[in-house]
């Protein structure tokens, strides 16, 4: 009884803290103009709530990857500022990045690949191994720990890459077209798995925020709570759409009229943004 009471108190305390919590990602007039004068991303204000799943949707060259790299701190903004959890991006420690390619070390077994960020951070071997096992379990690859990347299919390699991101227990997961190189069937399956992973993290005390880059309208609608539509030359955000469908979203929803309406709404706004542009 005491336990239940103190549990409730802790929950209340956490609610109090998180309601006033800073946004997971906060951009203030952040933009990127490269040294050659090319404007990759117009100055942008953007706020992503903790635990939110936001997708950046747009054609190639619209600056969606640039935006993600600004958030990751891989690129310094040429204007404005980027804050993560209320801190300057340079001090952010709890973010993970998944590239379009699996970018695994070909000489290392799956287990060593997933353990890499922990090894780099100097986590003790025993603890690291336990976390690797857990992360591989999350992506359904526990049986493949001793295999080399080249022995796995493209989809499995991408799962390893996601396990390597999750093993650091990130609060912010940045994904740059992670499934763009996969066939549609595999992509749909991995989308569903990613959604399930994200949902399991929402139950915890540190929800997982995801920023996801894609050029697939269907992927954007299926995964996101919010879709930012981007256009090219110069890269900019032109539209924003909330997707209020509750989670978990089923495969059946993918073919429902409601899904189709959202998809065509996004398609219209993509077409409108690219009007007058050469294809």
């Amino acid at each position: 009884m005491i336990d239940a009471l103190s549990g409730a108190l802790i929950d209340a305390a956490i609610d109090a803290v998180t309601s006033g919590a800073p946004p997971a990602v906060h951009l203030q007039g952040a933009g990127k103009t490269f040294a050659n004068g090319q404007q990759a991303l117009q100055a942008l204000d953007l706020s992503v709530a903790p635990g939110e799943f936001v997708t950046l949707l747009g054609p190639s060259g619209c600056g969606k990857s640039t935006l993600l790299r600004l958030v990751a701190g891989l690129l310094p903004p040429s204007a404005g500022r980027v804050w993560l959890d209320g801190m300057p991006v340079a001090q952010a420690r709890h973010l993970a990045y998944v590239f379009q390619e699996p970018t695994l070390m070909p000489w290392a077994r799956v287990q060593a690949n997933v353990r890499l960020p922990l090894d780099l951070a100097g986590v003790a071997r025993a603890e690291a191994d336990a976390r690797v096992e857990q992360a591989l379990g999350l992506v359904g690859l526990a049986a493949c720990a001793q295999q080399l990347p080249r022995e796995l299919s493209g989809g499995m390699q991408m799962r390893v890459s996601i396990a390597r991101a999750l093993v650091t227990r990130p609060r912010l997961l940045l994904m740059d077209e992670p499934f763009g190189a996969l066939d549609e069937i595999t992509r749909n399956r991995l989308d569903a798995e990613l959604q399930a992973l994200w949902l399991t993290h929402q139950a915890g005390r540190a929800p997982l925020t995801v920023m996801f880059v894609t050029h697939s309208i269907h992927e954007a609608v299926f995964l996101s709570q919010r879709v930012l539509v981007m256009a090219a030359r110069p890269g900019r955000v032109v539209d924003e759409l909330r997707i209020d469908e509750p989670f978990p979203r089923s495969a059946a929803w993918r073919v429902s009229p409601a899904f189709g309406a959202l998809a065509s709404r996004l398609q219209d706004s993509l077409l409108q943004a690219s009007e007058g542009e050469p294809a």
Partner: protein
């Protein structure tokens, strides 16, 4: 299909198959037969071209002499190869740490490579009194460059995605070198080893030729020179045969080492079915 079977199927590298050595062996046997037939048929005198059988007889008769010479040559080759590997890797690591250092020193590495060893060897043999040391230095100079060039290229040939990942994880310079650059460089490094092992043998033989005339060498090159003076052509062929076999064995050894070290992760070790 269990994981082990899958691994075996997905990575069919490993030991050379029977066909890999059976066919070359068949060609060798055929050539030897033709050679023997021609020499016997046209009654070529052994001081011009000895028959394979004569060479084999000399190989057995002069075994003590020839194999001692072989061991001496191999010893010089081995020392030079190890020295070239250690030096070459150290130089490559230095080059990779700073472009300025590489730019300043690379021309001298090239200079070393393009200067014919026969031209420098007499000087080295005069300067260095200890005969084996002189030979090793000559052979090292010949074998050094491929290790430097290949290892430097390998250390720079890092997957850009992985490099970005390491940067994102705030990897230190040391971690970047040890966990990313060194493994990435291994295929190039082993390519360098393969070239250098052959060059070390060539360097050892060439150095012996230059030094041998001074009467210091007891290696195979010295035996070839002596056989030439004495018109003992069968022994010359026997010595030549031993050098060739040593070269082939060195190459095979390096190939096996490469296979073992890259253990199926690198594309070069994959066989197309």
């Amino acid at each position: 299909m269990n994981a082990r079977a899958q691994r075996r199927r997905a990575a069919p590298w490993g030991r050379p198959t029977t066909g890999d050595w059976l066919w070359p062996l068949a060609v060798a046997v055929l050539l030897l037969l033709v050679w023997q037939a021609l020499v016997v048929g046209f009654e070529v005198p052994p001081y011009l071209v000895p028959s394979p059988l004569t060479v084999a007889q000399v190989l057995v008769a002069d075994a003590a002499l020839l194999f001692t010479a072989l061991l001496n040559t191999l010893w010089v080759t081995l020392l030079a190869f190890v020295a070239a590997t250690v030096l070459g890797v150290l130089v490559a690591f230095t080059f990779v740490q700073s472009r300025a250092v590489e730019r300043a020193l690379f021309p001298y590495a090239v200079l070393l490579q393009v200067t014919p060893i026969v031209a420098i060897a007499p000087l080295i043999i005069i300067w260095v009194q200890q005969p084996t040391a002189a030979l090793v230095i000559c052979a090292t100079l010949v074998a050094l460059f491929p290790i430097i060039a290949n290892t430097t290229l390998g250390l720079r040939s890092v997957n850009p995605g992985l490099l970005a990942y390491f940067r994102l994880q705030r990897a230190s310079r040391w971690q970047l070198l040890w966990r990313l650059r060194v493994p990435s460089a291994l295929p190039y490094f082993f390519g360098g080893l393969r070239i250098s092992s052959g060059l070390a043998l060539i360097g050892a033989v060439v150095a012996e030729f230059v030094a041998g005339t001074g009467g210091t060498g007891t290696g195979l090159a010295y035996q070839i020179l002596q056989s030439g003076y004495q018109l003992n052509i069968p022994r010359m062929f026997a010595a030549l045969f031993l050098i060739a076999v040593a070269g082939v064995l060195l190459f095979a050894l390096m190939a096996a080492l490469t296979r073992w070290a890259l253990a199926g992760w690198h594309d070069s070790e994959q066989r197309v079915e």
